[in-house]
């Protein structure tokens, strides 16, 4: 039992509490401390990644209570991957926010860190109810962040977002209650042992509970028909917040991966692969819906917000097929798309800041300042997002397509992903050519010149797609191992039998 597992939770928690109590301190001090917290969190998650890459499961039982009776944290490859993904994303979004986006609200940094706290608990927890608590922690911070900056335009999408998520939480609790009433446990490893034993009338209760749980995760992941809240909410949020939110839908995807391969996996008897046959087609429809939305977007941020929906569809389709290759490809795409989409949100904000009253609307306007730099950033982001060679989006999509070669659904997956990528490309080309090429006479007063912090952080997030390509070998090996680990949950169940020794960590 190693105490390192609590680091990604304790660091943002302590940092966030400090931020709450120093709300009136000078902004430079608050920024420094917040940045130190984010950097420390990244360091700790990289340490955990190194620890997890030996393929073992590590367990942290709070109060040394033997699972399934206590609350446990479980670290495996998937959890470590999600932690690193989040902390890298958070670091760059945080640096971007220091460019002046954090000034409207004294508690911005506190909320930002609490959001990271919620995300990290969700990735590390090994307990279904604790997953609910983590969702609530990250949601209540996200409500605050979404409203950050104020303004009438944010109230309505914010209200929709809050009400929908509250209904989602209610459904989550009902499904937790249904599963508990039959199995008598909420520890994920114990559930994986208990659920195959369920039979008779009780089977239907667990099945209903499991499917309701899928509805909740689909709402978080923005799977159709539960995706229409997303574009408005994301397009109205402040840029660093929208960038951080790029990982929020991935929490839903993570939960689906965790629950439906561990608890309702191949070994779950009558409930094996619950809901996955439906999910494949829903994912393809989600992908198509995202592409249609992107084509119809009238401003850049809405376009990028629909890209989030596209990436959820692309992610869940191979996951629903359930092959090891498919999961590995999806995890590779997860890394690529989260960073790219977040980078595009930041670039869209920079574009908007250089175009005066035209903001990020896809209309002709006077030439913007720094257009060469911005157009290169936009092009790199768009190429990575649409999936053109030589950037990471292309490799990820090739891996996804390859993984379905032997399956019956190959035709539908290939056609939807390829046609979808083509139309995504059209959407980006249209936006890019209007924004950067078609200019009208006149000039924009340069009130907000690009500063080093915002350029570097937006450039770095977009440029991570190049890093992923350069490190494709090791990342691919890691995702392959993660997928194998996910498909063989036997070792996860063994954490139940890990002996707890008091006072001997």
């Amino acid at each position: 039992m190693t105490h390192w597992l609590t680091a990604p939770i304790l660091i943002p928690l302590i940092g966030g509490i400090i931020q709450v109590f120093m709300g009136y301190a000078p902004i430079s001090l608050r920024r420094t401390l917040a940045l130190i917290t984010t950097v420390l969190m990244m360091v700790s998650s990289i340490v955990l990644l190194v620890m997890a890459s030996d393929g073992s499961y590590r367990l942290y039982a709070f109060g040394n209570w033997q699972p399934p009776f206590g609350i446990v944290l479980v670290l495996d490859r998937l959890a470590a991957l999600m932690l690193v993904l989040t902390s890298v994303l958070a670091l760059f979004c945080h640096i971007f926010s220091l460019g002046g986006q954090d000034e409207g609200n004294r508690q911005f940094h506190g909320l930002f860190l609490f959001q990271l706290l919620g995300l990290n608990i969700a990735f590390l927890t090994g307990d279904l109810f604790n997953l609910f608590v983590a969702f609530e922690v990250l949601l209540i911070a996200s409500y605050g962040l979404l409203m950050h900056g104020g303004g009438r335009t944010r109230t309505t999408p914010g209200l929709h977002y809050v009400v929908l998520n509250l209904i989602g939480s209610a459904v989550f609790l009902i499904s937790v209650g249904m599963i508990y009433s039959v199995t008598g446990t909420l520890n994920m490893a114990h559930l994986a042992v208990e659920i195959p034993k369920v039979s008779g009338e009780e089977l239907n209760i667990v099945k209903a509970g499991g499917l309701m749980l899928l509805v909740v995760f689909a709402l978080k992941a923005a799977l159709i028909p539960l995706c229409f809240w997303l574009p408005k909410a994301y397009a109205r949020a402040t840029a660093p917040v929208a960038g951080l939110f790029a990982v929020m839908t991935k929490v839903g995807v993570y939960a689906i991966l965790r629950i439906y391969f561990l608890i309702f996996g191949d070994s779950a008897g009558a409930l094996a692969n619950l809901g996955m046959d439906w999910m494949f087609y829903l994912a393809l429809i989600t992908l198509s819906m995202g592409v249609i939305g992107a084509l119809g977007a009238d401003n850049l941020r809405t376009l990028v917000a629909w890209q989030v929906v596209i990436s959820v569809g692309t992610l869940l389709a191979p996951i629903a097929l359930g092959s090891t290759d498919g999961i590995s490809a999806a995890l590779f795409y997860l890394l690529s798309t989260t960073w790219t989409v977040a980078g595009l949100f930041l670039v869209a904000n920079l574009v908007a800041s250089q175009r005066g009253s035209a903001k990020d609307k896809i209309v002709t306007a006077p030439r913007m300042h720094n257009r060469t730099f911005l157009s290169v950033l936009f092009m790199v982001g768009a190429v990575a997002a649409a999936g053109l060679p030589p950037l990471s989006g292309f490799f990820a999509k090739v891996l996804i397509l390859q993984s379905s070669l032997d399956s019956e659904q190959m035709a539908s997956l290939w056609s939807v992903i390829l046609i979808g990528s083509f139309f995504t490309l059209i959407a980006y080309s249209r936006a890019g050519s209007i924004l950067f090429w078609r200019t009208v006479d006149g000039h924009v007063e340069n009130k907000s010149p690009l500063t080093g912090t915002v350029s570097v952080s937006a450039g770095a997030l977009v440029g991570l797609s190049l890093v992923i390509v350069a490190l494709a070998g090791p990342i691919g090996t890691y995702t392959d191992a993660t997928a194998t680990q996910l498909k063989n949950p036997g070792a996860y169940i063994d954490v139940l039998n890990t002996p707890m020794v008091g006072g001997n960590p």
């Binding site: 109230t155 809050v162 009400v163 009902i174 937790v176 209650g177």
Partner: protein, 122 residues
């Protein structure tokens, strides 16, 4: 007891869902509250209903499961925080849009009067 319990959960949930569908912020907030009461009662019942049972082994003959009680307690605390937030947000929405529709759209009559007011000021 089981029948009464089930009827209460059903009534709370049905009223909650009905109120949420009203698309006005105040009914939506009340609906969310009722829904969360229904959910909390349901969660409580997931550990089986027992009269006079204590959640400590060996203290009485009847034993009641302590875990759902802990879960409900957590859910209630979270529910209160969320309700407080949604109330404040609805008030903000009302102030911003001068209308309590969840879409923030003014109905036709109030738009007219609002425009007349603005024109009158000019």
């Amino acid at each position: 007891m089981e029948l009464a319990f089930a009827l209460i959960i059903g009534a709370l949930t049905a009223s909650g869902v009905y109120l949420i569908l009203r698309a006005r912020t105040f009914p939506v907030v009340v609906g969310l509250t009722l829904l969360s009461y229904g959910v909390n009662l349901f969660l409580f019942s997931s550990g089986r209903l027992a009269t006079g049972g204590q959640p400590i082994l060996g203290s009485t003959e009847a034993y009641s499961d302590p875990l759902p009680q802990a879960l409900v307690l957590t859910a209630i605390v979270i529910g209160f925080a969320m309700t407080a937030f949604v109330v404040v947000l609805s008030l903000r929405s009302l102030a911003d849009h001068e209308d309590d529709h969840v879409d923030g759209e003014r109905n036709v009559r109030s738009t007219d009067t609002h425009q007349e007011k603005q024109e009158g000021q000019r």
